[in-house]
Structure formats: structure tokens, C-alpha cells
């Protein structure tokens, strides 16, 4: 399954708004998308799952995607992380 490691570099971590943006982005794809922090793996389309990871700034998470649009999904999600979820605008 295609996967990438991403660093959470936005100030607020994957809490609330960033979690919401990630969930929304993941939800646009038909692929199954998972996000893993340490031993915990959750559905990236679930805002509660993502919030419960409590992935703060500086943590590394792994995103996996499986399905027809898996590669695009990973690219979009990577862009979101790189953009620090639009927080530092």
C-alpha cells in the first residue's frame, strides 16, 4: 500500500481545525486512507479518530492510502501538511 511519512510542523498540531481540514481532504477520495502515529492507526476520514491521535507539532505520522486515487490522495495530503494547514497565513 502506498504510504508517506509526514512531519506535523504547524504550530497547533493535528487538533480541531487541522484535523478537520485533513478529514475533509481525505473524504474527497474514494481510496481508504489511514493515518498512524506510533502504534495507533485511524481512519483519516474520521475527525474524531484524527483528533484522538493528539499529534502535536513535531510528531511524525504515516499516511497510507489504498485505492484508485491513492497517489493523488497522498499528494494532496502532503501539500496540506507542507502548507501547515494554511495556519501561518
Amino acid at each position: 500500500m502506498p504510504q508517506i511519512d509526514l512531519l506535523v510542523s504547524n504550530k497547533l498540531g493535528l487538533h480541531a481545525r487541522a484535523a478537520g481540514k485533513l478529514t475533509k481532504t481525505a473524504g474527497q477520495f474514494t481510496s481508504d486512507i489511514f493515518i498512524t502515529k506510533e502504534a495507533r492507526r485511524v481512519n483519516a476520514k474520521s475527525i474524531m479518530g484524527v483528533m484522538m491521535l493528539a499529534a502535536g507539532k513535531g510528531t511524525t505520522v504515516t499516511i497510507e492510502a489504498e485505492g484508485d486515487d491513492a497517489q493523488e490522495a497522498l499528494q494532496e495530503i502532503k501539500a496540506l501538511f507542507d502548507d501547515k494547514f494554511g495556519e501561518e497565513a
Binding site: 504550530k11 498540531g13 481545525r17 474524531m48 493528539a54 507539532k57 495556519e87 497565513a89
Partner: protein, 598 residues
Amino acid sequence: MTSSVKKPNAVIAAKSTPEKDTPASTPLICLYGRGVANGYAMGRAVVMGATALEVAHYRIAPTAVAAEKDRFSQALKATSDELRTLAQNLPDDAPRELAALLNVHQLLLADPLLSEETLLLIEQRHYNAEWALTTQGQQLGEQFSAMQDEYLRERGSDVRQVVERILHTLAGTRALGNLDAILQSDDPLIVVAHDISPADMIRLRGARFAGFVTDLGGPTSHTAIVARSMGVPAVVGLGQVRSVARDGDFLIVDGQQGTVLINPPPSQITVYESLATQYADSRYRLLSLLDVPSETLDGVRIGLHANIELPEEAPLALSQGAHGIGLLRSEFLFMSRADLPSEQEQFEAYQSVVVQMGDRPVTIRTLDLGSDKNLDGEATVTINPALGQRAIRYCLARPELFQTQLRAILRASAYGKVRLLIPMITGLAEVRATLEIIEAVKRELQAKGQAFDPNLEVGAMVEVPAMAIAIEPFARAFDFLSIGTNDLIQYTLGIDRADSDVSSLYDPLHPAVLRLIAGTINAGQRFGVPVAVCGEMAGDARLTRLLLGLGLTDFSMHPRQLLDVKQEVRRAHSNALRTKVAGALNRAEAIDPDRLND
């Protein structure tokens, strides 16, 4: 606060035997909560929604599983549509926070963790949809409550609100299904709710209510803020009023004492009618003070300013005759959210207050939060938050956050008279660091060609005893000082007022506290620096004479207290009070404020 009003509690206690006109079988039900908006209200209960605890639990037949799953999915979709419609039709003046919260609620509704597990419970355990949903909702809620991060912990209540909303859809009732009836009724109505969610708040806008009572909530809950802005009483934290009161019950809401009486006997109603009349009379009489000068009998002018938390409270401050805003707490911008407010968002909030206040000064206090609040989303455990990295300590450790706020405040200063107030300064190194950052931000704005008031006054809160004891260099460094009595008392006496074991030892009249206040006022006079008091002491009309006696000429308080204090000011003889208080202070004697009447 108003000491002239007879304590209704005493009245209740005296009435242990039912009156002739009361059926003996009707006991007087009186619930105790927390009054968060003053006044009295009487009217009919309008009970909002059912709680998750009250739904039916039963097992469905195996043949009914598909239909039950469908019922749940339909309810989910209908609820989602309802929220989307609400979000799309948000009034222009709705707080931005509401839109963000509605968005989170929509995402929660769409979350497979909520829907898929619920469907599984229906399918495998044959729970009815309501039972399955509350089971899964509770489980998720518990996981959130167990989280270390305070912000994430609070999301548990969002999950609960979303679950309740789906339950209402399942039951075919809307959370505020009876709203149309409410809007058309002529009787005074009292909202009875478990809690009031942001979505409910939008729908309640425009409806007229005589009062609010809720099971949950504190002084900064949505309920409290709305009630205060509407000028109606509210009692929150009642625990179980939702399960005790029924639609149409006659309620008395006592915002003074924080009590709610359900179906009281006529004799009680009479008592409260007269209390309400007295209260209204005293408010009305006080209104006649709006246009008279705020000065003592011997002609000393006293400044009366308002403490506010939200831009929406500025009209209230003006309506009560505030000379300006003595304390705009900026924390409201930072609370109940995970990210930080942008410079533009902050600027707009500050500018709104400045414009509303016209040529009256607006004192904006920079962020007074601590590391215990987890603003940066990093879970930290602070051993003793009151003595930890908070207020200016926190801001100096996060220059970006501080500079953003300073830019926003400085930009707002182009629109009126803004004063900048720095909380919790303790040492001179902090003074230098703070003033340097302010100068740097000014240079930055200048370079960008952005307008601000170059003569913006910078003041400090006097709340750490260290500053009050060695006040002189601080009085030289700042343009004004404002004494935050709440923290000053807590630090001076070593008492945490929130700790019920020691709260009785919290004594604003301790001679040490009074000496610190007097010393600060005195230094202000010597250095020509205005000194205000903005803590709770300033708004307690019982203490007005004492503060005048300490030489105070500038008070800042909750807007609703302004006229009570003004009345005391106009009855006082400042010089005589100073002589009396000075003597007692020199001898470190206890001062009884009630015996300062001339």
C-alpha cells in the same frame, strides 16, 4: 450585590409550613445553582429537548434490523442537512466562533466512528437506533474526557451535542421544536435547558425570554453571555432542572441568589413580585444618576470605567454611563478554539470596541492566559498555574504571539483612544523587554505605513505584591497603573479562592492588602501616574467608601455595577474618609467598611 434587597433564601427558610392557599401535597421545589445574570424573572417553563439519558432502550427483532439501520441513516442525513442550512443562513452579526463550531459539528456527524459503530451495534446486538447511538456516543465521549489536552477534552461536549441533535431527529422533535409556539406566546417565558449549544443560540436569537436556567454551564457559558446581553436573569449549573421542570410549569428565577423555584405557592409569588419591583425600582432610581457628575460631596471627580470581555458588551457599558473601558480582557479571542486568532481578526475585535466607545478611552489588556491553558496545543502539566508561566511571562516566551496581538492593538489605536495594559509584570527586566517589543512593533508598523497612535499609553497591572512593594521604578516606567485586586489578594495572602477549604480566608480587607493598594495609589500621586482599581473590589458598592478613603479616584468594574458605585461616590465625603482610613492603616487595624459611613 445590592445589599438593600432582602435575602430570598431567608424567606424560603421561614416558610416551612404550607400556606392555606397551597395544597399540602405540593412541596416547594427550590433548586440551587449559580446566578450568572442578575435580576428576577417569573414565567412559564419552556423545556428544551430531551437528554440522551431519557431515550428508550429496547432490542429490535432480527427482521427489523435493516429498517432500523435505515432509520438511523435517514436521521443522520436529516441532521446533517439541518446543520448545513443553519450554517448557510448564519446572520451576518453571528460570532465567527459559531460558524467554526457548526463546521466541527458537521464533521462529527459525517464521522464513520460515530455512524459505522452505531450501525454495527444495531446489526449485531439488535439495539434500537437510539440505544446504539447513545452507547457509541458515550464511549467516544469517555475517550475524549480521558485525553490529556484540555482542548481535546472539551470536544467531548461537542460529541454529546451532536448525539443529542441526532436523537431529536430520531424522535421527530427538533431541539427547539416548540420555538414557533415560543415566539408567538404573550406570557413571559423561561428557557429550561440541559445546556444551550451554539446552534440553539442562533435559533433563539430574536425570541424574547424572561430568563434562562440550565443544568450545566458557568459564568462564561453561552447562556450566561446571552442572558447578560439581553439583560435578563440566568441561573446555570442547576444539575437537574431539565428533569424536574415541565413545559408550562410556573418558575421563579432568582439571578441574585442563583435559585429557581418550581410551581411556588402564591405567597412566594407575592414575595418575589415585591422583590422584583424593588429591584426594578432600584435599577430605575439608579438610572436617574446617569446624567449627574460622578463626584464626591467634596467635589472630587471619580472616573468610572467598565470591564468588558466581548465587543458586544460595549453598548451595555455606554448605557450605564461608563467613562471608558478600563479593562478589555482579550482572552475571549483565544478561548474555545484550537488555533490562534489572526492579527486581522484581533484588530477587527479591538477596533469594534474602540469605534463603539467614540472618544472614550479603551484599555486593552494583553493576553492574560497561562501555560495551563495549552494555547499552543502542546499538552503541558503545570504544577501551580497561578505561579507559573502566564500573562506577560507567557507572552515574552512567545514573542510571535505577543507581537501579533500588539500589532492588532496598535492598529486599532488609529481609531480612538486606546491604552495598552500589561498583566502580571513582576520585575524590571520584564518591563524593559516588554517596552522594547512594543517599540519594535511600532517601528515595524511605521515602516509598513500602517496608522497607529504614536502616543499610545502603556500601563501595567499591579497584581504581584513584589511590584506593589517596590512600586517606584514601575510608576516611573509606565503611563498608568491598574490594580488587579483579585490576584493581588491571592498572592499576598497565599489563598486560592477557588479552593473551598481556604476560600473563607480570602480577605480583601486584610491590612496587608489595603497597605499595598494605598502604597500604589500614593506612588501614583507622587509620580503623576494615574492609578485605577479594576478587580472585583472596585465594583463592590460596599467597598466604595473604603477605596475612596485609600485615595482611589479611578474605578473599573462590570458595567452593571457602575451606577451602584456612582451612587456611593455621590454620597461620600472623600477627605473625611481619607483621614479615617489613613489612621487605621497606619495601625494595621481591621477596617469595617460598613462603619465608614460619615
